[in-house]
């Protein structure tokens, strides 16, 4: 690997992170994508835009989220003189229960600047759908959420929450009826309603400028961690861990630290029933580069380049692609990508509930499952920060079913 001066310089003007990213969309969408890019560039240069975001982050979302020393988990993972000191970044305490709202506030404020009158979004687990429906209620814009039929079945509480917030939830019946198909359908809607509609993409993927823009909105996570850990420990972290579906919570935590060479960074993908089966969602460890949903990135695909269905117990990780910046960080070697299975995540979910009194979402339960393996190998003065990016209330039905329990 060539050594870089910075890992934080991307993307280039065409939206590329190395060979990844880009703008692979139909001509119908190109003028829109360029319009979003122009508007976002102008907003970034306007201090009042960041001031607006900060205002809503503080008073509406509840930021900063705490950095919490998970003492009992730390204790639980001590082995002799080993066992890292574990911190949770508590983004599950945000309004709506996950990191997704950070991005939705940013994109909604941009959509308002652009004078858009209607919001659409895709959702997998429903967290992004709920966050989008929430900001649409707050800013009084009509909201249409595309959600795969299978996810609607798995995430009924979130579907109801979206409806209570005034959103229209459109079931997607094409393809595998999950997140990727919801994204296809949202893109179709956007193509047909280009004049008045803004598409709030939920993860750091899609055509440029979305991967960079979503990352920027999520970087509040890592920026807060840096300040908080300095205050609590007088120094920076030694390692960072976050789960990856599309990868927005992870890039938000990682990006501010990419140039801190001594910080080890781990992204945890969903291994489903195992990487040796065809039932997983680990695009980086089990896929290869391709082009889907507007960007070149690692994808789960057949020999013929057809997109495969992903599988994970966590609907939020159940996506056959990944944000392009992660693909680049993998190839550049800066971030280590690993995976946790359904069973490991389920175990970590229960451990966290019992030891810390926190029900994590199944998504960060994947990150925790890796922490369970990693922490006991590290010295006790090693500071490990894991992004607890969502709360588990939405998952209690899935977990009950997996444990064979009737609620």
């Amino acid at each position: 690997m060539t050594s870089l001066n910075t890992y934080r310089g991307g993307p280039d003007e065409g939206g590329h992170f190395g060979q990844f990213g880009g703008r692979f969309v139909a001509e119908t969408l190109m003028p829109l994508i360029l319009e979003v890019e122009r508007a976002y560039t102008a907003a970034k240069a306007d201090p009042s835009f960041q001031a607006e975001i900060d205002y809503f982050a503080k008073h509406y979302v509840g930021r900063p989220s705490p950095l919490y020393h998970a003492e009992r988990i730390t204790e639980h993972l001590r082995r002799g003189d080993k066992g890292a000191k574990i911190y949770f970044k508590r983004d599950e305490l945000n309004h709506t229960g996950a990191h997704k709202i950070n991005n939705c506030i940013g994109q909604m404020l941009l959509a308002r600047r652009m004078g858009k009158k209607r919001i659409i979004a895709e959702t997998g687990a429903g967290q992004h759908g709920v966050a989008t429906a929430t900001v649409c209620a707050r800013f009084d814009l009509p909201c249409v959420i595309y959600m795969g039929e299978e996810d609607i079945e798995r995430q009924k509480p979130n579907v109801f929450r979206m409806k209570l917030l005034g959103a229209r939830v459109v079931p997607v019946t094409s393809g595998s009826r999950t997140l990727k198909d919801a994204m296809n359908e949202a893109l179709r809607d956007w193509v047909a309603n280009v004049d008045d509609t803004f598409y709030i993409i939920g993860t750091a993927a899609g055509p440029h400028p979305y991967p960079a823009m979503v990352r920027d909105f999520q970087c509040v996570i890592g920026n807060e961690v840096r300040e908080q850990i300095m205050e609590m420990e007088g120094r920076g972290p030694d390692s960072l861990v976050a789960c990856i579906g599309g990868g927005s919570n992870a890039i938000g935590l990682f990006h501010p630290f990419l140039d801190d060479k001594n910080v080890r960074i781990f992204g945890v993908e969903a291994a489903g029933l195992g990487l040796d089966t065809d039932k997983h969602a680990a695009s980086l460890t089990g896929g290869r580069p391709g082009v889907l949903h507007g960007n070149r990135t690692y994808l789960l695909q057949s020999d013929d380049g057809q997109i495969l269905e992903a599988h994970s117990i966590s609907a939020g990780l159940d996506y056959p692609g990944i944000g392009p910046e992660h693909s680049w960080l993998k190839e550049s070697g800066r971030v280590e990508y690993v995976s946790s299975s359904d069973a490991e995540a389920l175990e970590a979910f229960q451990t966290c509930s019992r030891l810390e009194g926190i029900l994590p979402a199944l998504e960060p339960a994947h990150a925790l499952a890796f922490v369970v393996k990693l922490a006991p190998t590290l010295p006790q003065d090693h500071l490990l920060v894991m992004n607890l990016c969502g709360r588990g209330d939405k998952d209690v039905f899935t977990v009950a079913e997996a444990l064979g329990t009737e609620i």
Partner: protein
């Protein structure tokens, strides 16, 4: 290209005849390789001037329900990009004159390998490519290599393509320009000939190329109304729906499927031929 390409010869012929052309879209391998080949072999005899063949893809973002379903039927029956090229090769063995344009999405080609795909496509007798998710910003990927390989790159122009953007959209386009007449996905709305006339006139100010108009053309009358104002009318979803109507519950073709679809195509061709644009 020093000598005229098949597409250039075909549009020159149409001009000489004083009429607009008929372009039909079907998905290669829908519902099966054999039925699809039989259908495609019958298209020139039914009056089709240019054949557009879809390369099946699992996630056709710009297509409506009818064409999505046709893609999945083809994939379900074992279609892939290599067999799509095989279908073209078999057709080319019987017809040297009718241009074939492949339409689809980039990932299957990316996976096949750009250089290998272009060499195999050229050898099979492919005349042009329409790859929906490759805008001018990504021309290095496949457009420029295709031009080098002697295959036309056919770009979609849309109502959102303003005068500022049009030159870059037209820059590497050859064979014809495909004007998407309505905003949205394939097969969902109906075309308005008056709006198309204005749009075609605008395109003609920027390009000498023939203009084919697609999206929303479902009947022989509509095809005729478009052929009056453009150089060709493209019919896709309506034909694909017709194919679906000829399948049994297991998505296998009934014996009447191919003759029925060709009958519909013949009616479209008759409509276009009556609409002389002088």
């Amino acid at each position: 290209m020093s000598t005229k390409s098949r597409l250039e010869r075909r549009f020159a012929d149409l001009k000489a005849q004083g009429r607009g052309g008929l372009v039909t879209f079907t998905t290669a391998g829908d519902p099966t390789f054999e039925a699809s080949l039989e259908l495609v072999l019958g298209l020139p005899g039914a009056g089709v001037d240019v054949i557009e063949l879809g390369m099946p893809f699992s996630d056709p973002m710009a297509d409506g329900p009818a064409i999505q379903a046709s893609s999945l039927r083809a994939l379900g029956a074992g279609m892939n990009l290599a067999r799509t090229l095989d279908l073209v090769r078999r057709f080319r063995g019987t017809d040297e004159d009718t241009p074939i344009v492949l339409m689809g999405y980039y990932n299957p080609i990316h996976s096949y390998g750009v250089e290998a795909f272009l060499a195999d496509a050229k050898a099979a007798g492919v005349d042009g490519l329409i790859v929906v998710d490759l805008p001018p910003e990504e021309d290095d990927e496949l457009c420029l290599p295709a031009l080098k390989a002697g295959i036309h790159w056919i770009r979609l122009a849309t109502p959102t393509t303003d005068d500022k953007r049009l030159p870059s959209v037209l820059a590497n386009t050859g064979g014809f320009v495909y004007y998407v007449s309505i905003m949205g996905i394939t097969g969902t709305r109906e075309v308005q000939a008056d709006a198309v006339r204005v749009a075609v006139e605008r395109l003609k100010r920027h390009s000498e190329l023939p203009i084919a108009v697609g999206f929303g053309i479902k009947t022989p009358e509509q095809a005729a109304s478009i052929a009056r104002v453009a150089d060709a009318a493209v019919v896709g979803s309506a034909i694909v729906e017709r194919i679906k109507g000829g399948l049994d519950d297991g998505d296998r073709p009934r014996p009447a499927m191919v003759p029925d679809v060709l009958g519909f195509v013949r009616a479209l061709a008759a409509g276009v031929r009556k609409a002389r644009n002088g």
